[in-house]
């Protein structure tokens, strides 16, 4: 993928926009089975990220993602801050030294990001967390890449799987995070972190699609 650094910056702009647009909805989801702060926190975090990465235009993707990571860790707070921060940090490490990012690189980055979230939060699939959107997304991405599909298409598959995974959290019983305090009352509500994860994956897929040939 040519111009990876520009696309990375575009991705971060899009994620910021999407977090702003969906802050109220994410907070609403986090009110039903949480403490009503997820949307506010994600928007605050990416609002802090944006000017920093704008000032780094032209730097490699890994640098932008690392700054994203440290900024999220320093501004988001809650459960989402360390989890997304770790995700972006691991993705940055996976892309270190790379300037032209191909689909295998993207897969490596996604893999590392998800592994980071699981290592930090210790959640498995089925516990009603962001892991439930990201695991199917990564699996779909891997399958598509191994089938030789191009990056935009592979990411479309990932986003679709993330959406399905997000929706699949609705009937789940939460066994991680704040929602787990509600026990069975967590059933019937979509997980906020899975929702923000889906939105992030979709934003990535959209930007890559828009920038493809």
């Amino acid at each position: 993928m040519g111009n990876s650094d520009a696309i990375t910056l575009e991705i971060l702009r899009r994620i910021t926009e999407v977090m702003r647009e969906n802050a109220e909805e994410l907070t609403r989801l986090d009110s039903a089975i949480g403490d009503g702060d997820h949307g506010t926190n994600m928007a605050r975090g990416f609002n802090a990220v944006l000017p920093k990465v704008e000032a780094m235009a032209g730097q490699p993707p890994a640098a932008l993602l690392k700054t994203t990571a440290t900024t999220l860790i320093s501004t988001v707070g809650g459960a989402a801050g360390p989890l997304y921060g770790t995700a972006f940090l691991r993705a940055a490490t996976a892309l270190d030294g790379k300037n032209d990012i191909d689909e295998r690189d993207v897969l490596a980055a996604f893999d590392a990001a998800l592994e980071g979230i699981k290592a930090r939060g210790k959640a498995s699939p089925g516990e009603k967390t962001m892991v439930d959107a990201l695991t199917p997304a990564v699996d779909a991405l891997r399958a598509a890449v191994e089938q030789g599909l191009d990056l935009p298409t592979a990411l479309d598959h990932a986003a679709a799987a993330a959406r399905t995974g997000m929706e699949a959290t609705i009937p789940m019983l939460a066994t991680k995070g704040r929602a787990s305090y509600l026990g069975e009352r967590s059933i019937g509500h979509q997980d906020p972190g899975a929702t923000s994860s889906y939105l992030i994956v979709q934003a990535i897929a959209d930007v890559v699609r828009e920038n493809s040939g």
Binding site: T27, A32, D37, T40, R44, G77, G78, A79, G177, G183
Partner: protein, 333 residues
């Protein structure tokens, strides 16, 4: 949403500026970085004790900064765990060369952010220990939950731990007494109303005129059970019974009985609850050796109450009685 605030996104910074203006004798406050530090920190040779968590639980934790309790507190956004930068700054600011203890309420976000901070502090050569407080009996501590929440026991842990640290005890001793408190304290709460996070603009959940939530936490989230409104005596029984059964507390035990207002409940009602709590404990041969009644760990303007019982021994009584000088708790000085 009716609150005495300016812009919702500024509440924490403005509250910190207000605390700095109100308590210049006790605190120094960095409203940008958002850390509240005991004015005379660091104290050479003393273990530094810090805590932190989302704002909205005042006076916890910032109101407990001062002699004999916390050396520093890190307030996050409302109901949002603070970020590692805050705890790192606080840890460095209170480092008297004898190590630093982090008192961490058991929430996924709090635990992770404090962990990151501890790693960063260790990397800078400061020995950091962490004790997680998880006294809430409303949640099962099992593989199927994020574990028991840290609630009212946190206040007692901060006081007792801070008292021992004030005496220049070692990091091992200070950590041990904090764990001892955690092991001997149990809590449970309930709510008559929810609360409104300023940036959310509306209550986190709605309760009907005849409904209450049993087993709530301190972040405005729904509890374990929604029930029809009951009398104060019945509610007190509902809260204290699982507490007693969980430790368990036994005939002959001495306890610190802590009846805590969630923010919107009049003090009169807390005393009505204490009355029944005293009767129940009395019937069970449990003696209240110390009491604490008031709003100490709140959930914004939530109407409700939590009960915390700490099983006491001579050491814990001595440390509870030790002098303390903070905005929200003061005696012996």
């Amino acid at each position: 949403m009716k609150k005495l605030i300016n812009r919702p996104e500024d509440v924490v910074r403005e509250e910190l500026e207000g605390m700095a203006a109100a308590h210049p004798d006790l605190l120094r406050v960095d409203p940008e970085l958002q850390v509240i530090i005991r004015k005379d920190a660091p104290i050479e040779g003393k273990v530094g004790v810090i805590s932190g968590g989302g704002s909205g639980h005042e006076p916890l934790h910032g109101g407990f900064v001062g002699m004999g309790m916390l050396d520093a507190a890190c307030p996050g956004a409302v109901f949002t765990s603070p970020v590692p930068d805050q705890m790192l700054e606080a840890t460095k600011a209170v480092n008297g060369g004898a190590g630093v203890l982090h008192i961490v309420k058991n929430y996924t976000g709090d635990v992770m952010n404090f962990e990151l901070a501890a790693e960063l502090a260790q990397a800078e050569g400061i020995e950091v220990r962490s004790v997680i407080i998880n006294d809430d009996v409303a949640v099962q501590d099992s593989l199927y939950t994020a574990g028991r929440r840290g609630v009212g026991g946190t206040v007692l842990a901060e006081k007792i731990t801070g008292a021992l640290a004030e005496r220049k005890a070692s990091l091992d001793e200070v950590e041990a007494v904090c764990r001892k408190v955690n092991e001997n304290v149990r809590s449970m709460g309930m709510a008559l109303t929810s609360c409104t996070v300023p940036t959310a603009g509306k209550p986190t959940f709605e309760l009907g005129e005849n409904e209450m939530e049993i087993g709530i936490g301190i972040h405005g989230e729904p509890g374990r059970q929604r029930l029809p409104l009951a009398s104060a005596d019945e509610i007190t029984e509902m809260l204290v019974t699982p507490i007693l059964e969980d430790l368990p507390f036994r005939r002959g035990d001495q306890v610190l009985a802590f009846v805590n207002g969630m923010g919107g409940t009049p003090l009169m009602e807390l005393y009505i609850v204490f009355r029944q709590l005293h009767r129940i404990l009395s019937d069970r041969g449990i003696t209240i050796a110390r009491s604490l009644v008031g709003d100490y760990i709140t959930s914004l303007e939530m109407a409700g109450v939590s009960i915390t019982l700490l099983r006491l021994d001579d050491q814990l009584i001595d440390l509870w009685d030790a002098p303390v000088h903070t905005p929200a708790l003061r005696w012996g000085v």
